[in-house]
Symmetry: C2
Subunit: 324 residues, 2 copies
């Protein structure tokens, strides 16, 4: 690939920045923050064959590469502002570039964020996006704020992306329309940008669920506890919200998809019980359902109760791209 | 690679951040800017087989991955603050991780920058670093400030990294000690952080030379000119500073390495002629030599004069990693 061909690639991503002092084309991009704001930064890499299949619609991939980063910003309660794109490609594929940039810019426009720089190189197909947001100083939603007695909430529904993955793997057979619906959940996650900002000063902790509910909940429990004593949680499995597509699957598969999951990009949120009304008001303001699914405990470990109140012996593997 | 193994990798890069409100381990990192500062952001990817050989010393690679980004920040006159690391690796290699993280942190400590987050994934060996700096609002050094009549300066010496590449390619034979010296220039570039800050309010434009002097100068000329009328430059080839190792090579190879170059990470700077004393004072304060190598012209194109004042018919290929 020649330097000239790289200029061609770069041109797909060289729209002028509109909301920052200096965008693409200098040694650095320059961003200004409003007074009293902190910068929130998130960084995610997608690698072909690990995080997406070579057959994925490039437009969806462009959407997802940005969406997973906006979801991280949202889970901190940040307003997204801008992002950098590092893209490596083995060879010029204008069909791919056209679709990828279209999906990327569609979400960027919808969320009013600017592409302000990056790097394009020859190499295996992979992309790293670093996204920038701003959040009022001291008001970011962190993983470390949960306390025993807090309610545990989840946004939207869990498990559809994992169900799609199991269909791709041939482990589950789905009707065409159902497959398309859960595949959309996997390939086009919606970052809950408004919800994150609405939950500032309401939630005690938040995380975006990308590696499975149980795995990501464990991060909250560890960071909210003392260094050697993580908190615990009680989870009502039947309360965990799932789509109509997943609800008709066998119960064990529902549990595996909704709790082990992966690629959900919903929020797992904790809040003091006396903040329930505020949580539901934030849910309503953002137009995203929030469902109470359990409680934070002082006792370490996660206790999952099944449909009849029985304790489940859970060994749900947390989602791991690398087994895929 | 299992999720547990990825935790292992991540532990190599999980030192607590010391200079920012929130570092590794939440959905986002949080950075606070001093009042009146803008954020400068740079992003560079290194891919195995393109930007480094599989035989490279991991410690040097860790240094270089950060150095090339700090060089970008420096060329904007920014003070580096923090960075994110996205690392993909095909399999766990603790010898690599130990060396890479050691080289990375050695430079990070020297420059007082914090690793504040990132992503580790399974995939071909590659790394993207996004680095953050701060620069007083409106005082960043840009590529767009050059004007006809400005002097053209270069920092340090040019061409050693290209000479090393030609030795790796077998096109040039070098003595062992000479090879090690130019290889060090290629593998361990020194980011000129102090120089960049010293040149604020002194230089009219600056760029860090990573793709060859002529190629990067062309960026300055294009961005400093009108949309359809780039500026031009006159260059004294014999004035371009080269190391003692390159100075003994044939003249045509000197030209190719110093002007076509690549991986130099020196500064190409422009300044009004009446600012020469200030340029030299900045050079002296930063301890980095700056050499006057030519002049910016209103007439487009770059005119290179040889050792006897003759115009050179230059067709020096700009450095292109992808031919390597």
């Amino acid at each position: 690939m020649s330097a000239g061909e790289f200029d061609l690639i770069a041109r797909y991503f060289s729209r002028p920045a509109r909301r920052v002092p200096l965008g693409v084309g200098d040694d650095c991009a320059l961003l200004a923050l409003e007074s009293g704001q902190q910068l929130a930064v998130s960084c995610d890499t997608l690698v072909e064959g690990r995080h997406f299949l070579s057959t994925v619609d490039p437009q969806r991939l462009g959407h997802k590469a940005l969406a997973v980063n906006l979801s991280d910003l949202a889970a901190c309660g940040a307003r997204p502002v801008a992002f950098m794109l590092a893209l490596s490609m083995p060879h010029i594929d204008e069909v791919f570039l056209e679709g990828f940039s279209r999906g990327l810019y569609a979400l960027a426009d919808e969320q009013a964020v600017d592409l302000v720089g990056g790097d394009t190189t020859a190499g295996p197909l992979a992309m790293t996006i670093t996204a920038f947001g701003e959040v009022p100083a001291g008001r970011a939603l962190l993983r470390s704020g949960a306390r025993p007695g807090d309610d545990l909430w989840a946004s939207g529904t869990l498990g559809d992306a994992r169900l799609a993955l199991e269909a791709f793997r041939g482990r589950v057979r789905l009707d065409g329309e159902v497959f398309e619906a859960v595949r959309l959940a996997m390939e086009c996650p919606v970052p809950r940008v408004s919800l994150g900002q609405a939950l500032r000063d309401v939630a005690s902790a938040a995380i975006d669920v990308s590696d499975g509910l149980l795995g990501d909940l464990a991060h909250v429990l560890r960071r909210s506890g003392a260094p050697d004593a993580p908190l615990g949680a009680s989870l009502e499995a039947a309360a965990v919200p799932v789509s109509a597509h997943l609800a008709v699957q066998p119960w064990h598969l529902q549990l595996e998809c909704a709790l082990g999951g992966g690629d959900d990009y919903v929020f797992c949120v904790t809040a003091r019980p006396d903040r329930s009304d505020a949580v539901l008001a934030a849910s309503s303001a953002a137009g995203v359902p929030l469902t109470r699914i359990g409680r934070i405990d002082a006792e370490p470990g996660v206790r999952i109760r099944g449909r009849n109140g029985e304790l489940l012996d859970h060994a749900f593997t947390s989602f791991d791209h690398f087994r895929a």
